[in-house]
């Protein structure tokens, strides 16, 4: 079976772990529990008659307490930058992480995820400003780890690119 490493990156509290839990176990918890270090989950998928196992690296959020460590991205077939549409600042923080990741991995496919689509959009960015940033990515999608909206689709998109 083909195995592919996928890294989830982003600022603190945007819902990276919730996306993984929703995708792998189909569950969501309202309680926020901060991730420390790295946790790896596996999920098998079938794409075009091929069996693929995604190795999903859920990485501690980047903030003033935890810097970005490019070593985690080594060998990744793709990485995902997750941001939160209820927090404008998360877009800037996400783009900073993206820039740092691109320094070491200029050619790895990168996906842009705007999470918490079940909540009202509180961003003050114009759609043009968001699109301008989205264009730097392989693909972009809005998700809700809570309702499951587009979560499966996100990983399907990733799978079809990395397979």
């Amino acid at each position: 079976m083909i195995q592919k490493k996928i890294c989830l990156l982003g600022p603190t509290g945007v819902g990276k772990t919730s996306l993984v839990r929703q995708f792998v176990d189909g569950i969501f918890s309202e309680k926020y529990l901060t991730t420390i270090g790295v946790k790896i989950d596996k999920k098998q998928m079938d794409i075009d008659d091929k069996s693929l196992q995604l190795l999903i690296w859920d990485i501690e959020g980047v903030d003033r307490y935890c810097g970005f460590n490019p070593r985690y991205l080594r060998g990744a077939a793709a990485f995902v930058i997750v941001v939160d549409q209820t927090r404008s600042q998360s877009l800037l923080e996400g783009m900073d992480i993206f820039t740092s990741a691109r320094e070491s991995f200029p050619n790895t496919p990168a996906f842009f995820v705007v999470n918490k689509s079940d909540l009202p959009n509180e961003w003050y960015w114009t759609s043009e400003e968001v699109e301008q940033r989205q264009r730097l990515f392989t693909d972009a999608i809005n998700t809700s780890a809570k309702t499951g909206e587009n979560v499966e689709q996100l990983f399907n998109k990733i799978a079809s690119v990395v397979i």
Binding site: T12, I36, G37, N69, R87
Partner: protein, 705 residues
Amino acid sequence: MDIFQLNTLGITDCVLYRYEEDNTLCCLTPTVPWAFTLTAIDETTLNVTDILSLYLEDFLIDAKQCWQSEGAAQISSGFWTEAREVTPLRLEALATNNGDGERYLAIKNVSKEFDYRQQSLQSARELLLTHHAVISQQDSLHERLLQVLKEIESCKRQQLAIRQAIQHLTTGVVILDAQKNLFLDNGMARQVLRADCQENCVHNLFRLMKDVYVDAVFLNNLEEQQTTWRGEVFWQNAPGGSRWLQLTVSPVFQNGAINYWVYLFTDTTQTHANDNNEAQSIDTDLLTQLDSRQSFKRELDKWLKTKQAFGLFIIDICEFRRVNENLGYRVGDDILKSVAQRLKSFLGEDGYLARIGGNEFALLTPFTCLSDGIVHDYGRGLQIALEDVFIAFGKAEITLSANIGIAAFPQHGSTTEDLLKDAGLALQFSKYKGKSEVTVYRTQLKTKQAELANIEAALAKAISDNKLAIHLQPIVDLSCGDIIKCEALARWTNDEGKVIPPDVFIPIAEKSGLIFALGDWLLHSVCKTVKELAKYSPNIRVAMNISGRQICAPDFLTKIKEAIAHYDISASQLGIEITETVFIHRTNTVAVTLASLRAIGITISIDDFGTGFSSLEYLKRLPIDELKIDRSFVRDLCVNNDDKVIIKSIIGLASNLGLTVVAEGVESDEQHHFLLRQHCVMAQGYLFNRPMPVKQFIDLLIARQ
């Protein structure tokens, strides 16, 4: 005592492997049950036959580098979690090499450390997110109110609709008209201001502003600069008891005249209460065993009460984040402990030391005789104490630099807040100047800070109003004097007609982030100029300076392409000049961008060559067309043989690498002839032409033709 006994006694919970010559791992602690979650082990030889943990498998790539290195080394994997059926395993791996052939992999069960870290960061991050949420709400509301209030007529018409919209918000809103009369307020504003009617609301708002020093001068500045202020204030004398407020103050304009003042506020006292409880429960910094920030303030209060002269030093370890990122938090933590130790040794028994931030220490020391010179020298002494190499875990070697801000009692202030503010401001100036700086507070710093803020605001306005100008300096063919190309330079004359030199406004733009707006302006102005020059000299190339921050921006390449398309010019008529420093930290990013720029025909020059870190490595690897020899070498070449040798070397190096050379700052015939003899192709400088307005440059082109 060996690892078996330590594990048995519960002192450690660790699996140990020895790395063998034949690249295998031999398990030395096969009785630890969870070892089999990570590795499959041959029961006879105890050799590892398979790595079962994906994370460990990845870490072994780094571990092997550590084991195969010639000298002593150690690296950490950082924390990770292995899922198990009942409770997850929290682990950290360490690869060590003592340099004498002993190489080990230790994997430690770090459940306790993990839980402690998770508990601390859980609270810290919840606070961070709450604070972000408050700011985000205010920003979004501010944006929407500005849109509505700018339409003055419809705004009056819609007063009722706006009132209804803001009435039930959790953010306090007060809108005053230009004469500071109440236009609108909401229930939350009255609750926060403890006002029972409209009159009280305005009265208490003014009282709040007065108490937190948001005075008429401050508001006039906001009005003049047409800018918004946002910050967190402590309202000590608030009706109903002191409280913290997140505050936004914003003037609203229409046709250049002020229409309204918008005040937004959110009570953040509860957040601070949580924050304080958290902090107060930890008076001691657990890592260094020094006092924490809270304890430091109490100690400072005590020192003030003694009325004895003392100095307050705030020490900021420069770029400490990089140590954590590159070597891991364990090494970073170990070094912070050593920093604390060195500072304590330097300080002696009369002083006091605390760790007041991640990489910030505060130090108090008494002086019998106090002057700016004495405290400055003491600060230098502290820096020297930190200059020697730090060794973490007996292996990793790191050198650090520190910026220091100093305030002295009684000269610079008589209260805790004043002294901390003054030392903080002095530290800010040290950081502004660069690395390894010591600044003693003086009142002029406040003036200087205000000046810088004024220049920054004026520059922002000048950029948005297109009030800057481009000057062009010809770059000539040294053999015939023909103008081959030119360098575009931004020039700024402020509203009072004063010329602000680029060495003043460009560093301010760099520090404030305005460099992006300035860069956009320069790009468009240069493209426009290229279009104009093409009428007189179709092949002339215009070069512009690009800062490190700009070239690393993800949308830089897109912007360049869009500008080229917008002005319908050829990319080959553009040149980009960057300095060597951009390669220090971000070589890969810059290399990708430069390659893309070159692919579309833009020329890449290294500006001020020879003054940076001049690594041959980047010259070989990176897509570069041209080196510009720094003016400092050209200036003294007639009197300084070293400079002659350096210039000859640069020209030789460029020739070998297939790069062209431009000499900067040529001012005399003697310099001109020397450069010609060395086969330097191009030059710029006052000997040929000074930078000139575009119109004058065009006249020059016409005259030459």
